[in-house]
Amino acid sequence: MEPGGGGRNVVSMIEIEHLTKRYGKKTAVDDLSFTVKPGAVTGFLGPNGAGKSTTMRTIVGLDAPTSGTVRVGGQRYDRFRAPLTEVGALLEAKSVHAGRSAYKHLLALAHTHGIPKRRVSEVIDMVGLSDVAGKRVGGFSLGMGQRLGIAVALLGDPAVLILDEPVNGLDPDGVRWIRQLLKRLAAEGRTVFLSSHLMSELAQTAEHLVVIGQGRLLADTTVDDFVESRGGGAVKVVSPNAAALAERLQGPGVSITSPESGVLEVRGTGSAFIGETAAAHGLVLHELHTQRASLEDVFMEITADSVEYQQSKEGVAA
């Protein structure tokens, strides 16, 4: 670290320890701890109102934690000498004065850090707003506002990117563009942390996953492990010869359950092997398909309790 405490560590990890945030009586984030590492896209998943935005706001110091600590690269965000080069954040779309042009908005932010105009034009090009950069932001569509927000986040060429629901309002082209952009930024060794309430969205982009519900940590794992751990990869077999087939499929690492007569759920082997085994023994199959427990299903399952709890609590209060 450089003298004076304003320098930076080599690794810009986001470290959240026992973070609690209350707004009056409402607890938005409840004793949350996790870290987000550089070099990968980490998805931040949770239903609406789970505390994702609040957590992200505490990282850039907009909200002060009620208790616990939030650090980036081992430091509090407000200690950095050049905060925009450490963390770039997209928190809410169109956080821009409607009467100001996109260019002037970015320029005003750039001035704070002595970032040159060249870089402002660069990020405008990068997000594809060159044609409308001089126009008042008031006339922007949600997608254009979102692109401007991404330009703001990229302005300081930061080590950490925090994006709250970045694909909201983007067209399919825009969605594909931002996925590639985020993967590229992560590959450069940056920390990329993006939130979504849509599991499928994160599955395409993120390697790592932090799942919260009701402000509490539900999972902190890789996307693959997350699906795997929740019964992904079972093969459903419907056959009049179910019992005979089950016998033939037995082997190391293979587990077979029968939720109802004539139906098997096979884990530890693929549908190809099951089909071939059935054919080899002349066993009839009526149905054979891989039950890829979608991330959405897993997510719904894991967050179901917290969502229901929240609703019933509100019901009591009302």
């Binding site: 050049a82 956080s95 002037k104 005003a108 001035h111 704070t112 060429d157």
Partner: protein, 275 residues
């Protein structure tokens, strides 16, 4: 080396090191923000036209009805500029909007993410706003003064110049009054964070309430009124300060006190509250 093992053999990114958050940068930023809004121009120009227009109209009327044989109204050359006191209201509102506009639109989030210590933003805003107002209104008040002098040339109010100490003081007083009210509006905006609320508070509590308060049957209320934030500037633009509630020195002192109090409160709240 634990951190190095955590990231294994992935690329290590180092952000640009030649950028720094500075007070100068914050002022440049606020300067850009101020001038990049059409409303800033409109309010500045309207307030200037308002003050200058009244001065010209009053001078023309005075000149047309001037009777050299009659006694004057006890007016001094600078008095025809009194319309600039109303410009102060526009500028106070503009000052409030300079910061409440950021809360209304949400741009305060980008602003405070870029400057997470926050108070630097408030000082930069105050410095830039004061500089703009003093710069613009020094020119406008001066131009209006020369304009009215041209109209008043044949009267007892004509022939005044800046070398006349009272005239210079009064003209400076108008500029200082406008700048002070503008800063008061800015601090109020920073405290209340709401455009409509700040404007209502300024007009209702700072401007009108002290006038109503003098009608209350308690003498101590009437005695306190001249010391309220909106009233302490009154002496500055008076040609004859003999009948003023506060001396010039008291006026400047109380203006200083109110600026320190309101900006102090604004800074403390800015540090403590979530954005």
């Amino acid at each position: 080396m634990t951190s190095a093992t955590l990231i294994e053999n992935r690329a290590v990114y180092t952000p640009p090191s030649d950028y720094r958050l500075t007070a100068f940068g914050l002022m440049r930023s606020e300067w850009t923000k101020f001038w990049s809004l059409r409303s800033s121009w409109i309010v500045l120009v309207c307030a200037a036209l308002f003050g200058a227009g009244i001065a010209v109209a009053v001078s023309a009327d005075y000149s047309a009805n001037y009777d050299p044989s009659a006694d004057g109204f006890g007016m001094a050359p600078g008095d025809v500029l009194f319309g600039f006191l109303l410009s102060g209201v526009f500028i106070a509102v503009l000052g409030a909007l300079f910061i409440t506009g950021e809360y209304t639109t949400g741009s305060i989030r980008s602003t405070m993410s870029a400057a997470p210590r926050r108070t630097g933003v408030l000082w930069a805003k105050a410095a830039v706003f004061a500089a703009v107002v003093v710069g613009v209104y020094s020119a406008v008040v001066l131009a209006t003064f020369y304009g009215t002098q041209a109209i008043l040339s044949g009267t007892d109010l004509g022939g005044a110049s800046l070398s006349d100490a009272t005239t210079l003081r009064v003209l400076t007083g108008y500029v200082a009054t406008i700048a002070y009210l503008g800063l008061l509006g800015l601090a109020l905006g920073a405290i209340l964070r709401n455009s409509a609320g700040s404007i209502a508070f300024y007009i209702g509590v700072i401007m009108i309430l002290p006038q109503l308060a003098t009608m209350l049957p308690w003498q101590w209320v009437a005695d306190a009124v001249p010391y309220t934030p909106g009233e302490v500037v009154n002496t500055l633009s008076m040609s004859d300060t003999a009948g003023a509630n506060l001396t010039l020195g008291e006026s400047w002192t109380w203006m200083g006190i109110w600026i320190v109090v309101t900006f102090g409160l604004a800074a403390v709240l800015l540090r403590r509250r979530d954005v």
